[in-house]
Symmetry: D2
Subunit: 249 residues, 4 copies
């Protein structure tokens, strides 16, 4: 049988999971406006607290079935991502829903949509990198500045910057709980099948390191309402996603 | 309700259809190998004739609901496409199935997958354009050469060239019949919903012009088997797609 | 001898000229601020009239020595360009100087810099295309709207739109006269050679067709001062550039 | 005075130097064919030994005058580079000349050409990255594989892979000596000024770390002749370039 772009396999857009991730983040935590956020987050997820996060990151990702692609097809293992996430709950369980998540490659776009992320393709995502051997740059230290932005067509749906103040611990990062999503594959004609399914992303193996805490600012889509930055952070993180679990009763 | 990337709407990746297309094609008709093609075309479609086509084209496309985007968001109305199609049948109805179709924009990728095309994102598709006012180029005439190629990562999944011999008529182009597709949205976890549905794309308003006929050659994915070029053509075409119709019994 | 990127030849970034161009333009004519424009246009060119033009266009270009590249290397024959030009004079001869011109390919960037254009590389230039066979689009007619934009990193240095009112003639387009440029190749160390040379671009074979006249608006770099749109136009144009002529005494 | 793309300044393509670099390299050392290499390396540089290197790398680069751009304009501080270098000499001084060097940004292209590198713009350069927190990847260790490739239009002018065998020291990397270049800005018309100048790039602050040594293989442009891989290496490096020194007598 031929490989459909969404049916995981070696000639598909997507390898068979689980999928492993290692990422470098620049993140701003902020408050949006409750009513605006409620319009952004679909039922059955409930928004009671306007706490949000926005980030840009670079991710090295491999499928468990194809880790050697880092060497044979590096273009299939590296991408940039930018996203806005909103704190919410489902049946009393706390979590985060990402109304939008921009990525720079086909495979992260399609893999994400399949798992329940609302992914979009960015034209470009760029973010600060410090290189320890660059004679003109200092190692990260209090006062160091980081920035990033996402461009899509004539629009710049996210830009943010963070100034770090102190080294921190993983426990210094706000915890949101579970990662919620929405798997949708609508009809384009009468009599078609469709999918419309809230999910919880199945994450494991989470680890965080190199945390620096400070303050930040951001500009993003007006749909989140007026934004009030709370803090900023720079850190590395790794995790595994094995799929997602239906929340439909 | 927020706009999911696949749920047509003004802040989605996809506008609400019907969708109108105007395209400039460089096409090579060829025979592949029957057994290889049968592995490429999924049931319930049946391959009895190894006739295939490969093309590169540039498309101007607008949703019926948003034709003014040609002026306000031209990046949402122009893309390049490259594809390989295989003659096949369903319940005695003749048609064509495209095992793969590369495109250069997010919205054509996702719209196509929703309608049943096996779309993939290309890094680059390039093809011959002649400009009537360029003092170094002649208007199309017998002997004129056209070429195109598609690049994806380190691979070049399609390249073709056509030398035209004579002006032709739309009836000079091989007719394949209906356009078949496969809408798939597989599970990524137990208990999930999924879609697995053969379809016929709902096309109307077809028109063809500026036909030139000649010979061609191509290089493409080995999955089609050894290729034997039959003819080449350059032409313009327009049509409307309103969705797709389930072929599931 | 190996091919240097700037030394025209078959393995260089640039083919040997003359170079032929055929282009589709969307143009806005406007007044900037005289003092601002004088800071933008280098001596020996003199600005006495704040008349300017801004455009986006798609260009098919071939070297006289390599016209078959439209078929063999179409990626070396098509690019998009956006530019701002300022009316000016040299020794009483009227002309135009382009303080900046964004392009989408390496070869148009380097060829232009060599000839005296102040070219920059854009990430993306997008502009309206109408396709005559698209069932959802009308042929150009009074009231038709066109738009275009240029993106570079997080910036959008030019966006413009034009609404056409009537078919026109080439003589309806404001004439600027000669095209002036500045060839510069500065030192990066003591004792190096350098070039600092005003030029006139050597253009011939000019022809214009498909002219439509109307009104327009634009947003561009603040360096031109406050802009006052005068008119808009859509047209096709062709010409040949054989190099440039030094204006140094 | 307006900023010409090549005249360093805040609105130019190039910031004022010196320029600092921090880079991660995947490198293959190889022998080419002496006669082929002699055609690739221009006088006054002399090739007596067919030793070459090819690499892909990612570079974080800042101008001394604008190190804060890592935060404010990260797109102006990160690029990928691929190159082939040939051992050669000038007046008895040993060094390396790079007949071609592909890069992914405008500013590294133009800055390089100005300093004497034969830079070309790549469509894409991709290379292995390992992320220490990715649960599916191991830290670098004997047997780890790295790969990279460069795409330009329909061509893939360089691809290479390295399998590391042991941790090494900077002194384990072959030393080539000085970095030679050729600054060229040819005429495009009679009476024009031009530059044609061999140079030595002015490098300082060199440092190397994280060296791993092993074996490698490569495919590259046939102009180097038949290639015989000698060894492979993965390492990080930093240095400063302040310009280049004319070697003209």
């Amino acid at each position: 049988m031929p490989d459909h772009p969404l049916v995981p396999g070696s000639t598909s857009a997507i390898e068979k999971g689980p999928w492993h991730y290692g990422a470098d983040y620049i993140t701003v935590y902020f408050r949006g406006e409750l009513e605006a956020l409620r319009r952004l987050v679909p039922a059955p997820f409930v928004v009671d607290d306007p706490l949000c996060m926005a980030y840009v990151c670079e991710i090295v990702s491999v499928a468990d079935s194809a880790a050697d692609m880092v060497a044979t097809r590096p273009d299939r293992t590296i991408y940039q991502e930018a996203a806005v996430g909103v704190k919410c709950g489902f049946n009393g369980k706390a979590g985060i829903f990402f109304p939008v998540m921009w990525v720079t490659t086909e495979w992260s776009l399609l893999r994400g949509i399949l798992n329940g992320y609302q992914k979009r393709l960015a034209d470009r995502i760029s973010m600060t990198k410090l290189h320890p051997l660059n004679p003109g740059l200092k190692a990260i230290s209090p006062g160091a500045r980081f920035g990033g932005f996402c461009v899509k067509g004539p629009e710049q749906p996210l830009s943010l910057d963070v100034t770090v103040e102190r080294a921190g611990a993983p426990s210094d990062l706000p915890a949101f709980g579970a990662t919620f999503g929405m798997r949708r594959f609508p009809k384009t004609g009468e009599g078609q099948e469709s999918v419309d399914e809230p999910v919880e992303i199945t994450k494991s193996n989470s680890r965080v390191s190199d945390v620096w805490i400070g303050n930040g600012s951001l500009r993003t889509t007006p749909e989140v309402g007026k934004t009030q930055p709370l803090s900023g952070a720079v850190y590395r993180s790794g995790f595994t996603i094995s799929g997602s679990k239906s929340l439909k009763e």
